[in-house]
């Protein structure tokens, strides 16, 4: 197993957490919907980053919203991390991607952590706690295990909880993921790109930054205490919403300070950091060709453009080749890394 390239092992590790995963589909964030729109940079964006899409001219974008699970079964109403992958279409056929999720931090500091986490996250049978057990939890002021959803027989929650209990860096991510709920709409959630990137301004000054998308419509989420939503509502809600009016997000860029965790995606930055509004994303329609816009399209967090560089975050770098490996397995549209990634073990 260890003889396989790192990217293959990473993808295999992710898939192992979803026993019903279907070959030819994405290992996680399997179910998604493609949307079209444009991004317009703010007046100040160009002062911080020389990247083309921050220059001020509107840029066409392709966005894929997704549920986090690698299962082919769609359970929109289940508590789950959601994804928002954005491609900015630049001049001369170039492009840059920004991949974000509703979780504000990651579970793993590096690749070794990631393998350990995915091993712990294997699905195990779940059932409802006995009422006596729940009473005991109450008496101990302990958070009870959530009841499984109707039809849910397996979950990775017990494993991830056990992992987090042993590894403090994973606790925030596991706790937040456990209570993340389901958005009322894909466009009513905040999405975080989690990793640190380095942007360069017109004077050549380089800054460590993190990006997030904030919904202009505001954040609203169904929690487990709300009535369970149907398995399929998010895509229909998006179609109906965009048929009436556009949906917008603000791209916020947080500037890190010396001492902030640059290469560790398990550590969010303090809320006090300077945040710059970099522009507005306007989503106008659900793509007509969903096979192209939601399935064949291949995003990569390291598909960057001059003015934006990857930080030294080992998870970010590992994702580059893992995403390419995933693309190859499902026959997605080739990205610039095809043929040349350093799949070091």
């Amino acid at each position: 197993m260890d003889d396989l390239p790192l990217a293959k092992r990473l993808v295999d590790a992710v898939i192992s957490d979803f026993p019903d995963h279907q070959p030819g589909t994405r290992p996680v964030h399997t179910i998604g919907i493609g949307v079209e729109g444009c991004f317009t940079a703010s007046d100040v964006a160009r002062n911080y980053c020389v990247a083309e899409h921050f220059g001020g001219e509107p840029v066409k974008v392709s966005v894929r919203f997704s549920n986090g699970s690698g299962s082919p079964k769609q359970h929109d109403g289940w508590s789950d991390v959601r994804g928002m992958a954005t491609r900015f279409h630049l001049k001369d056929g170039a492009a840059t991607d920004l991949i974000a999720m509703t979780l504000g931090e990651f579970f793993s500091r590096n690749v070794d952590d990631f393998f350990a986490f995915t091993a712990a996250a294997r699905q195990t049978p779940v059932g409802r706690e006995s009422p006596w057990r729940k009473i005991l939890d109450m008496l101990q002021l302990v958070l009870p295990f959530p009841d499984p959803y109707p039809g849910q027989t397996q979950s990775g929650d017990a494993g991830t909880l056990g992992y987090a209990n042993q590894h403090r860096f994973a606790q925030l991510g596991v706790f937040q993921a456990g209570s993340i709920g389901a958005p009322v709409s894909y466009v009513r959630a905040t999405y975080h790109a989690v990793h640190t990137f380095v942007v360069t301004d017109p004077d050549g000054i380089r800054r460590n930054v993190r990006f997030s998308w904030q919904p202009v419509a505001g954040v609203r989420t169904y929690q487990r205490t709300d009535p369970l939503q149907p398995d399929q509502y998010l895509q229909q809600e998006l179609r109906e919403r965009l048929a009436q009016w556009p949906a917008r997000f603000m791209l916020m860029m947080t500037i890190g300070e010396d001492g902030d965790a640059i290469d560790d995606p398990t550590l969010p930055w303090p809320a006090k950091r300077v945040r710059v509004v970099m522009g507005t994303l306007t989503l106008t329609k659900v793509a007509d060709d969903q096979a192209a816009a939601a399935e064949h399209i291949s995003f990569n967090p390291c598909r960057l453009t001059p003015g934006i560089e990857a930080s030294g975050d080992p998870i970010l770098h590992a994702r580059r080749d893992a995403y390419e490996e995933s693309r190859i397995r499902r026959g997605g549209i080739a990205c610039p890394f095809s043929g040349g990634p350093s799949n070091a073990k």
């Binding site: 729940k134 302990v142 042993q166 403090r168 487990r224 205490t225 369970l228």
Partner: protein
């Protein structure tokens, strides 16, 4: 009580399941939790009181626009006592304004009376201890007048003769700032115990109890570091930018 997610259940629950799922929302369970369970667990697992004020940080952005939220219980818990406290402020407005201008690092400051507490809420730049030292030097006499109306205040006035004691007293009345991140309170509790390990034998399901027990000893807290529309600038920077100087 942490509440159990219940509404996603199918109808195959027994009456006992449904009863237990509803239990955290019932008055009897809330009573039992407040009067029996919390005192019991607080006795079983004593939690140290967290210090007030923002956490220590050397980073510039963390050292501007810091919050101080003093909650000071009045000795005289009557309308008369509250009126005396209000007059102590009103009669010294000039001294307060001149003093705060002279401190130079204060963005906002105000006194409020909540129930029978006189509270001073301020936003300042830089080190807490230096802030209080400057405070004593510039408006110590006003603060002495206020502190004399507060429980335990007589021990630390006049402040200019009890500087270190006064700083500790203010710090003790400053609200604990609950971390922005959900699991931050665990890290704060570990820090008080000198536990800085990356790994542990924790139980994340105890987070609600940890929070409850912390709020049992820190009854007045600030929830998170607060929203800022324009973070990261000192009072001096803001005044300079607007061309209104000191």
């Amino acid at each position: 009580m942490p509440s159990s997610p219940t509404s996603n259940l199918t109808d195959d629950r027994s009456w006992f399941d449904r009863f237990v799922d509803r239990l955290p929302q019932t008055g009897i369970m809330k009573f039992v939790a407040a009067r029996i369970l919390v005192p019991y667990w607080a006795w079983r697992y004593p939690v140290q009181k967290q210090p007030g004020g923002p956490p220590f940080s050397i980073q510039p952005g963390d050292n501007v626009q810091r919050m101080m939220n003093l909650v000071m219980p009045l000795k005289d818990k009557s309308a008369v006592g509250r009126a005396i406290a209000a007059l102590a402020i009103a009669q010294n407005v000039d001294e307060i304004y001149a003093g705060l201008d002279n401190v130079g690092t204060v963005h906002f400051a105000r006194f409020v009376i909540v129930d029978n507490n006189i509270c001073m809420m301020s936003v300042y730049d830089g080190d807490f201890t230096n802030y209080i030292r400057d405070f004593i030097a510039t408006i110590g006499s006003v603060f002495d007048a206020v502190v004399s109306l507060v429980e335990g205040g007589d021990d630390v006035i006049p402040s200019e003769h009890n500087i270190e004691k006064f700083i500790d007293w203010v710090h003790a009345h400053d609200m604990y700032q609950v971390p922005d991140l959900a699991t931050g309170i665990l890290r704060d509790q570990e820090a008080l115990k000198g536990d800085t390990a990356q790994t542990g034998n924790d139980d994340l399901r105890l987070l609600p109890r940890d929070l409850i027990l912390q709020l049992n000893v820190n009854t007045n807290v600030s929830l998170g570091s607060g929203y800022r529309a324009y973070p990261g600038y000192s009072a001096a920077q803001v005044r300079r930018q607007f061309g209104i100087g000191w």
